[in-house]
Symmetry: C2
Subunit: 658 residues, 2 copies
């Protein structure tokens, strides 16, 4: 187990230097983190107030006042602090560090003598701690603060928040567990399970790992803890007055023991956070049953319930999965946090077993759903990430009201923006993993970076240069401290369909392939250079026939990027256009588009709207509807949509044969 | 005004004798009315209880007990009685009449001394009458009972219920009106406005007409009555505990004075019931402003917000209109009652001005949405009438949960089944109108029937034979009491695109056309025969480009019938098929299909699902997805869908060019 711990710490010695990603890292540092700090302090005009910091001040006894916000408001502070932790590792900033230290002091002051920490219960319902795990998010908030503590400790070396959270973890350990007198339960919103694994990694304290394992193992056991708790509470809920129905166990994946689960159900963020912890524990314990469950849930999530953008969650009712192949584009949910959770899950599966399909999904979610959720200036966010938007319907058809046509400044329930910040500022953690025997370095993402890795044969420096997503030139410079044998494994992205050229020190190199990775096992010497060119094709993609929503439609994809049509480029209604099945797709870099991006043009058809003008007919014979006309379609990367003027957008485009 | 009254009474002397419709009339008489009687008395196993009769027994003091059901439960009894009234006119039935008489005795016993009648307020909230017009449906229930009273009186000549309802109307007239001390208000659910017009017609009492006019004129006036009432009530609602938000005035169309309304908004049944009364009043008063509003609202409803099946209401949130051209097929509402109300509205517009477009819509709603809502055995009903059903999504995606894949036995809120019964049993009222000068007989529907009509020049008997919807042979035998000049006007259905042949006594006849009617003005003699053949084409129909939901899709229509594809005939997923734009469509009568119906076959394409089998790919390059294969598609009339096995259904089919 020590090995895994070290392995992770090694792989964190990565600094991103990348043409595409640097601006995101910098945006998070210079804009998102300060902006969110203002938001947490209610200093954003016209945005919904957060009061998350104020809650801590009240709980710490520094101010009088009422609790404000959602019961899980504390977690916004935690996620912000976690992002700050990662950001400081990449880019020291004494002013920011001082602000963070002050927040940490405040948090420490809000902690109870026994270690308990939660501003809602401290301010609003003292004495009611641990009486409503189903709704109250106590362990969820604890988990996020543990993640923050680990991130901050690992980047700054400062232990204060880590100590606070260890004390809280010790308290939780005294409250929950199989021993007589303890609560045999778990949280209504999974999160602490993965956080305790991190806390274990940072501290080496095995009790934290054991506690995580306990929460995972206990989940879904009969009699159902959350139902018994609800009975004990008098059948009430935090969310409604009066009697409330029995908890929906599928909603938080406590309907079955986790090892018996095969289908992704319920609230999608809860699901992927749980799967992430399951994968962590499968890796650390070698538990085969848990591993098999992880694989089944991965397959169901990504092969039956995932949008092409890496979004998951088909319905806003319960922000949830619905069922296999139900992927409506217009009433979609695809919450930003859910895709981030999917990235966590993929990352942990890669730590378990290096198979490129995990990284393919990780990359898909990252380059599309996740960065698309944020405006280019880092100040506005989508919570829901649709694949089809008709702004008027978003406003006027209640079934689509959750689908916003423009990004919002801040949300009352603002889980997503700080989640984006913490992911992007820790992106360096997602590029490489090192095998358990420390003989193989896997490259999952092609992101320019400089890594220091400790392998079995010694330390190596690995410099990656990448021109993705616009071009396919990737170059690795390998510098082992001492010459030694190890394997460099490069992911062969699914999008290149196996067409990837490699050169070693300028000469073509015939690599072997395993589980989707190109393997180069050799005696490396200082200055060895690998050039890597996975073919960056622009392709039309289709969905399985079972996906009713995409019948007769196609999506444009180029490398990791999914494309979309926007009304600003292609007119309105967007649905009058179709794309020729066999069109040539021209990809060219457009300097002028939102900081520069490759746009794709292809030949399509547009229905003749003119034949309808001057008529009020709603329906008429097809024969009289006129011939469609040739039209040039212009697609832009999905992640850039909605950054110009408000208008319609579609990812899935009707196909035409002629 | 007397003229209009007489005119209507004349046009009611129509008896249906029709190959297609007789079975519906008979079904209503022999099955639906008895079945619904059992339902009202809670004798249907496994169906939601109604207790509507029991409520009256309790209110009448014949039983002890609590009120049960919706606050508008009384209206189910009223609609049933109204259907019984119509049915007895067509088919005397002493046993049924005795049952109805007993119900009427019961209703009379439940009436208060002052005329007030409503079981909810009598049993549950005595003293609170008229304090919550917004929610309580008191005038709505009164309106339905007035309609029942008129129908029962006109068919049986029995005045008891009519007297009860006149007494109630007199009471209402003493409570509402512009005079000091009266409530300056109107109901939250329009209905009484059209009912009072009927009561006026049956009794000649102008006060009832004036009261209807008052309700219509007052609606939308400022300050808003329903808001002031809500303030006075302490800002509460019948539907929720605690403080409730201010009433949504658009929901019940009280946001603007009716003469200023141009767009159909809010709850669709409320809307069309109101428009019906507006058209009644515009006819009776000659009010041009009201007529213009009716025309605008007609245009908006039918040319921008109507499904091809005659369904209206795009969203289940508030059972409401959403906005122009928003006609989703899968999350649709298209409530049965709304289409019935649309038929009322069309009927009143035809009485105002004979333009075939009104009858085209009437026919469309009748032959598709309305009869499609009922199972062939008359015992199960759709409340929501979708144009696209994926049964698994109806069960497992909450956004589609309101869309049932199978008809239901009875509903807690069971407005639709008795509404179907009263419409079908009064269908004879919708075939003809006579012009205000009584010189023209308009034929709106081609339904075999025998009519006795009183014209300016004397009485005539008109016998219509029709083989619609399967064939296009329509024949009229005209028998004037004395030879005389009048005009017979036959609707030229929009679906024949002006291609309609006429013969007079066996010889081709060159008719003139006005407002969509073929006019035959002549000196008629006994035994004159008109043969009429509007071309019954099978066509592919397309929707305006603004209707995003139908982009690239087509619907099959033959005459008044819209067709659909069902999985039982075409496999699943249904969405893999498309239909060739230029396919020949074969229409042939299939004896074996659910009592016999014309089915339509055409050539289509089916995507090659086989290329996906053995693979778990959710997405793949279009180029590798395989060629589509020729397939023969079989479409059945929409109104018959869901009468075989449960499965997918679509009305709008993707088109293919090759």
């Amino acid at each position: 187990m020590t090995l895994s711990t070290r392995e992770h710490q090694n792989s964190r010695q990565v600094r991103i230097q990348d043409g595409f990603w640097n601006k995101y890292m910098e945006l998070v540092r210079s804009t998102v983190i300060p902006y969110q700090w203002d938001a947490l302090n209610d200093r954003i005009p016209d945005a919904e107030p957060s009061r998350a910091i104020k809650n801590f001040r009240i709980a710490a006894g520094l101010e009088e006042g009422e609790f404000w916000g959602f019961i899980f408001q504390d977690s916004d502070v935690a996620k912000w602090l976690e992002a700050v932790g990662y950001s400081l590792a990449n880019h020291p900033d004494s002013e920011l560090e001082q602000t963070a230290d002050e927040v940490i002091d405040l948090i420490a002051k809000a902690q109870h003598e026994n270690g308990y920490l939660n501003t809602y219960f401290t301010i609003k319902e003292p004495g009611k701690e641990w009486t409503n795990l189903n709704d109250a998010h106590e362990l969820y908030c604890a988990g996020h603060m543990m993640e923050a503590a680990v991130a901050y400790y690992e980047s700054t070396g400062k232990r204060k928040l880590l100590d606070v959270m260890c004390k809280f973890a010790d308290h939780i350990d005294s409250v929950f567990g199989p021993e007589p007198g303890k609560l045999k339960g778990y949280d209504g919103h999974q999160e602490i399970e993965l956080a305790l694994v991190k806390l274990y990694r940072a501290t080496g304290e095995e009790r934290y790992l054991k506690l995580s394992q306990y929460f995972i193992d206990e989940r879904g056991a009969k009699p159902h803890f959350l139902v018994e708790e609800w009975e004990k509470r008098g059948r009430t809920s935090h969310w409604a007055k009066g009697p409330s129905p029995s908890p929906d166990l599928q909603y938080n994946q406590s309907h079955l023991p986790v090892r018996e689960q095969s289908v992704a159900v319920g609230h999608s963020v809860r699901a992927v956070y749980m799967y992430t912890a399951m994968a962590d524990l499968a890796r650390l314990s070698g538990d085969q049953g848990l591993l098999e469950a992880c694989r089944r849930l991965w397959d169901n999530t990504t092969k039956k319930q995932m949008y092409i953008t890496g979004g998951i969650g088909s319905t806003h009712h319960g922000e949830a999965f619905s069922f296999d192949y139900d992927l409506p584009n217009d009433t979609i949910y695809a919450e930003t946090c859910a895709s981030i959770g999917l990235i966590f899950f993929a990352n942990r599966m890669l730590q378990l077993e290096a198979k490129s399909e995990y990284a393919d999904v990780l990359e898909r979610a990252l380059y599309n759903n996740v960065i698309g959720s944020m405006s280019l200036d880092g100040k506005q966010y989508f919570y829901v990430n649709p694949l089809e938007v008709w702004p008027e319907a978003s406003e006027r058809n209640p079934s689509r009201r959750h689908v916003k046509a423009v990004r919002q400044k801040w949300f009352g329930c603002s889980c997503c923006p700080p989640n984006v910040a913490r992911l992007l500022s820790s992106l360096n953690d997602y590029i490489y993993t090192v095998s358990a025997d420390r003989n193989t370095v896997y490259t999952h993402l092609f992101i320019g970076s400089e890594a220091q890795l400790e392998l079995q044969g010694g330390k190596i420096a690995l410099k990656q240069q990448s021109s993705l997503p616009w071009n396919n030139h990737v170059k690795f410079e390998v510098n082992p401290e001492t010459d030694g044998i190890f394997t460099l494994a490069l992911r062969i992205p699914a999008w290149c369909e196996g067409k990837a050229e490699m050169k070693l020190n300028g000469l073509p190199f015939d690599y072997s392939v395993k589980d989707g990775y190109a393997l180069i096992e050799r005696q490396w010497a200082k200055g060895d250079v690998i050039e890597w060119k996975p073919e960056l094709q622009t392709q039309l993609i289709t969905a399985r026939p079972e996906v009713r929503a995409n019948a007769g439609k196609t999506a444009i994809v180029r490398g990791p990027l999914v494309y979309c049509l926007e009304a600003v480029d292609n007119g309105s209604p967007l649905t009058v256009v179709s794309i020729l099945r066999d069109t040539k797709l021209d990809a060219k870099f457009d300097d002028g588009l939102l900081g520069g991006a490759v746009v794709i043009e292809g030949e399509g058809r547009a229905e003749d709207s003119a034949v309808w003008s001057g008529s009020e007919d709603l329906y008429r014979p097809l024969a009289s509807a006129g011939k469609s006309k040739p039209v040039q379609l212009k697609a832009v990367p999905y992640y850039l949509w909605g950054n110009r003027e408000q208008g319609e957008m579609i990812v899935w485009i009707r196909t035409a044969s002629e």
